[in-house]
């Protein structure tokens, strides 16, 4: 079966509460949602994060917005005001989760989410005096 990183299939956002991080991933259609419900288990997410997440991972489903929410315990080095991590609030853990690769049916193997187009940024940057 072909494999794809979740990056090609889902949106993501991470948040924090004390030493708990949550990462939600969002599917764009019902087939993709059914796929991630089947493939992206709490166990798999726990293994993906390795030593970064010391505690258990709980998974919750929000079918109304085609989302899975992963609640990761003991995951932020002690929590925002205590941790030594630069990413003290775990904001980047969403990106880290969608690096996970899952098996997808042939029909989805070519799926790609759009990549950034930054003509507007070039326009702004190119007119600045730069060294």
């Amino acid at each position: 079966m072909p494999r794809l990183p979740l990056r090609e299939l889902c949106g993501y956002r991470a948040g924090d509460k004390a030493d708990i991080a949550n990462v939600a991933i969002f599917a764009d259609d019902d087939d993709t949602y059914a796929l991630i419900v089947r493939e992206v288990t709490a166990e798999r997410v726990k293994a993906h994060f390795g030593a970064m997440v010391r505690g258990r991972v709980d998974r919750y489903e929000a079918p109304n917005v085609r989302a899975l929410n992963f609640v990761m315990h003991d995951a932020l080095g002690g929590g925002g005001p205590r941790t030594l991590r630069a990413d003290n609030l775990g904001k980047t853990l969403g990106g880290a989760l969608v690096r996970l690769e899952i098996e997808v049916p042939e029909s989805m193997a070519q799926r790609r989410r759009a990549r950034p187009e930054l003509a507007w940024a070039d326009e702004i940057l190119n007119r600045l005096p730069q060294t």
Binding site: G50, V65, R66, A67, N69, G78, G79, R82, D87
Partner: protein, 462 residues
């Protein structure tokens, strides 16, 4: 009022006050300013340790100076938890701001009573299982050092009481974020405090508005580069009917986007079980909300269900947890990662030789896996899969005392000339002093214990 219009003008302490201009110009009944987070309470605690007149969000006057003309005209009321851990001081600052602008006759309410610090000991003695850690269930007796802060997360009711008493501005301490927004909805629509579905609808609206731009394209993982005017992301507005139906929208003049996709990103932000979102006022079922995209940057939300609130408030304790320092050094190709790693080891060895006690180290290799950690694939021998063109070493350390934490960083200085080649401390910092770490201890407290001390004080600005 048949439809109440509320707006989220602030998502954190440090957000930009200029954002409220576009909201006020749209004509809003209530401007809600959400200033607090767990981290913010810790920052305010450190502020108050230095100066006991502080401990509130000091950007409040900047917000009020923009909103007060609308408040004075009776067009808009302001609700904020910018009072932090010193709401009385925030109210003094607010009144001074109004007087300085020549605005008098408005009523400012202060919600007091969320501070539980002085009562913790007695309550814990009375019931030794009280205040166990919410996540680990550890007993409060095992907290590493005495609590410096104990803030209960109050609900919407004291704010609604203040509005009923004619307040134009309501300043609170730690009222739960979403409850700031529920309060004017419940008050204006006359929702009863056991009308769980409507209260839950208000909490969903509040949760979508509490982080300002984050529901309308901020921190958005979709086509973020294609949002209109990404340099001017909007702040959210909700029009809420008496039956709880809400339409989320934005000022037409600003950029960003309102869609089911931008909103669902925020719906699950900092949420655990979405079917049981525990607010002080109601347990809201976020999975019951139906989203419908309408024309022109509007999304309608219906169908939200709720169940009875619990009999406890969240209570956040903070305690001293040592001192931290950090330094960064940048390395160039070739062998950038290896140079960074060697420098980390050399620093640690020198610190050991100097007899400095470090309780915890953190080594991050920026450009390799500083953020992704173990989720970034590495070769079997542990080396990066691809040789990075450059690498920044970030080292952070925790020590028991401030002086040692400061001295650890100094061991890095001689490495400028006496370490692997071409490290540049100029790419980062090493000279900053140590910073205090605060551990946080989330727990619960019975509502009746807290409610007995909650009060609303109203003063007219003269």
């Amino acid at each position: 009022m048949t439809t109440v219009t509320i707006a989220g003008g602030q998502g954190f302490y440090g957000d930009t006050p200029t954002a409220v201009d576009a909201l006020l110009a749209e004509g809003i009944d209530y401007l809600c300013l959400e200033a607090l987070a767990e981290l913010t309470l810790a920052i305010l605690q450190k502020d108050r340790q230095r100066d006991e007149t502080r401990g509130y969000a000091r950007d409040l006057p900047a917000y009020l100076s923009r909103a007060l003309p609308f408040v004075a005209d009776g067009r808009t009321k302001v609700i904020t938890n910018a009072g932090g851990i010193n709401p009385a001081a925030a109210t003094r600052a607010a009144a001074e701001t109004a007087r300085a602008m020549g605005i008098t006759g408005i009523k400012i309410a202060t919600v007091l009573g969320d501070d539980m610090l002085t009562r913790l000991d007695a309550l814990h003695t009375e019931r030794t299982d009280a205040f166990a850690h919410l996540d680990t269930a550890a007993s409060l007796s095992s907290i590493p050092s005495p609590p410096l802060l104990a803030a209960a997360y109050l609900g919407a009711r004291p704010i609604a009481d203040a509005l009923a008493q004619g307040a134009d501005i309501v300043i609170t301490g730690r009222v739960a974020d979403a409850s700031l927004f529920l309060a004017p909805l419940a008050y204006e629509h006359g929702w009863s405090w056991d009308d769980w579905d409507r209260l839950a609808a208000g909490i969903v609206v509040g949760h979508l508005l509490e982080c300002s731009g984050q529901s309308l394209g901020g921190n958005y993982s979709g086509d973020w580069w294609a949002l209109p005017h990404p340099w001017d992301l909007p702040y959210p507005i909700a029009r809420v009917d008496a039956d709880g139906t809400a339409v989320i929208t934005k000022p037409a003049s600003s950029g960003g986007r309102v869609s089911t996709d931008t909103l669902r990103h925020q719906l699950l932000y900092e949420v655990h079980d979405p079917a049981r979102y525990m607010s002080p006022d109601v347990v809201a079922d976020f999975t019951s909300a139906r989203f419908e995209d309408l024309e022109g940057d509007q999304v309608r939300i219906t169908g939200v269900r709720g169940t009875p609130a619990t009999d406890t408030y969240k209570l956040l304790l903070a305690y001293h947890a040592g001192w931290a320092g950090e330094a960064r050094v940048a390395f160039s190709w070739p062998d950038a990662y290896e140079k960074a790693k060697a420098t980390a080891a050399i620093l640690a060895k020198r610190v050991e030789m100097a007899g400095l006690e470090v309780a915890e180290w953190r080594f991050e290799y920026w450009g390799v896996d500083a953020l992704g950690g173990p989720t970034v694939p590495r070769a079997d021998d542990g080396a990066p899969l691809h040789e990075p063109p450059e690498c920044v070493l970030r080292v952070a350390w925790r020590c028991d005392d401030q002086r040692t934490a400061g001295m650890v960083g100094r061991e890095l200085v001689p490495l400028t000339l006496s370490a692997p080649p071409a490290g540049m401390t100029g790419a980062g910092g090493g000279g900053r002093g140590a910073t205090e770490l605060l551990g946080i201890w989330p727990t619960l407290v019975e509502k009746q214990i807290v409610d007995a001390q909650v009060r609303v004080s109203i003063e007219e600005v003269r």
